[in-house]
């Protein structure tokens, strides 16, 4: 199997390049892309990438495989390889630290902006704040995000304005707290999102939905934020 890997070590290389490597795949077994990377690293120990859980939970191995963002650990090689070829690149749009490792600061700065935690100005009850099963169900499809960054780095609006547009991952979380019955800062949260960039730069391209390894739908959440903004503003 031919694998072409994006290589860049700023201490040694003048410019990034795609380097070809080849690999014997075991017969009758479909590896995950992460297994493939591990084998490539045995060939060349200088190859760098992030990984941790190897089961789609930690969100650290988001990379671009033949043009599609996803988690290397849960993406079968057969799903992304085309005619025995596979090109592996870092997540697009973010500064590259080395090889497949990107600097996620811009991504997390946007995440921080939406204040991704419960705000409640009521005095805390003796035990926990309760929710009805229906209220809890409002958070389904929102709380599962593992912040892998696959969606935001697939979003053209985030590529063009990573400093101003919150991006799909941040907005999914913004809605996760807007939808939470225990949160009392809704009006304030909406006011912070009402400017021309934070939410409204989303052009509904839906690249985010297309790549999310957890099957989440940021575009729908963004639509709901818009709906709330319209209702609050009129």
């Amino acid at each position: 199997m031919q694998v072409s890997v994006y290589r860049y070590d700023p201490d040694v290389d003048e410019a990034p390049e795609m380097r070809d490597m080849s690999l014997e795949l075991p017969e009758g077994k479909d590896l995950m892309v992460l297994d493939l990377l591990e084998r490539l690293k045995e060939q060349d120990p200088s190859l760098s990438y992030r990984r941790s859980c190897r089961e789609g939970v930690c969100g650290s191995d988001g990379i671009n495989m033949n043009g599609l963002n996803g988690l290397a650990c849960i993406t079968p090689v057969s799903q992304v390889a085309k005619r025995g070829k596979l090109a592996l690149r870092p997540l697009p749009g973010l500064p590259v630290v080395r090889d497949l490792v990107v600097d996620m600061s811009q991504f997390f700065d946007q995440f921080e902006k939406v204040r991704p935690y419960l705000i409640n100005d009521q005095p805390p009850p003796a035990q926990e704040r309760l929710q009805s099963p229906e209220e809890r169900a409002e958070l389904d499809g929102l709380y599962e995000c593992i912040l892998c960054g696959c969606c935001s780095t697939a979003c053209p609006s985030f590529w063009w304005n990573p400093d101003k547009f919150v991006g799909p991952a941040g907005l999914l979380q913004a809605y996760r707290f807007l939808a939470d019955s225990r949160d009392t800062a809704g009006a304030e949260r909406l006011r912070d999102l009402e400017d021309p960039f934070s939410v409204f730069r989303c052009r509904g391209i839906m690249n985010c939905v297309n790549v999310c390894p957890k099957g989440l739908n940021p575009t729908q959440a963004i639509g709901k934020i818009r709906g709330l903004l319209v209702r609050q503003g009129t």
Binding site: S157, W160, N161, D195, P196, S198, F200, G233
Partner: protein
């Protein structure tokens, strides 16, 4: 909160609503013109000047045309501002990106202003 002076209303929500509303106005105006030309030119005889003046000269049509011109300007401004802030960036244009973007926006603004001014003259000075 990200503010940007050159957006139309400085509020993303207002811009978003204006963009949609003006699109509806323009769609209706297009349909209105289309049906006028189709009905009156149905047999391919052409439309003469008198018919045009009658049609565009009515009070309701003048108001509609003026509204369409204003919608074009608002719609165009918001759209072009968005395109400019997406693509005229340091990444492609280097350090002068902001200057180039401002020049582009001034150009757009001027053009749209002339358009509105001309449109208003045209539709309000027609003999009724």
């Amino acid at each position: 909160m990200v503010t940007q002076v050159t957006a139309l209303a400085r509020s993303g929500l207002a811009d978003f609503l204006i963009q949609r509303l003006s699109a509806v106005v323009l769609a209706l105006y297009t349909l209105c013109l289309l049906s006028f030309f189709l009905v009156n030119d149905g047999v391919g005889e052409g439309i003469d000047h008198r018919q045009l003046v009658e049609f565009f000269g009515s009070a309701s049509m003048r108001a509609f045309s003026a509204l369409a011109v204003l919608s074009t300007a608002a719609h165009g401004w918001i759209g072009l501002w968005t395109v400019a802030t997406d693509y005229i960036r340091p990444h492609y244009f280097g350090a002068r990106a902001t200057v180039i973007r401002m020049a582009f926006q001034v150009g757009c603004g001027l053009l749209l202003f002339i358009y509105v001014w001309w449109g208003m003259r045209l539709f309000w000075m027609l003999p009724g």
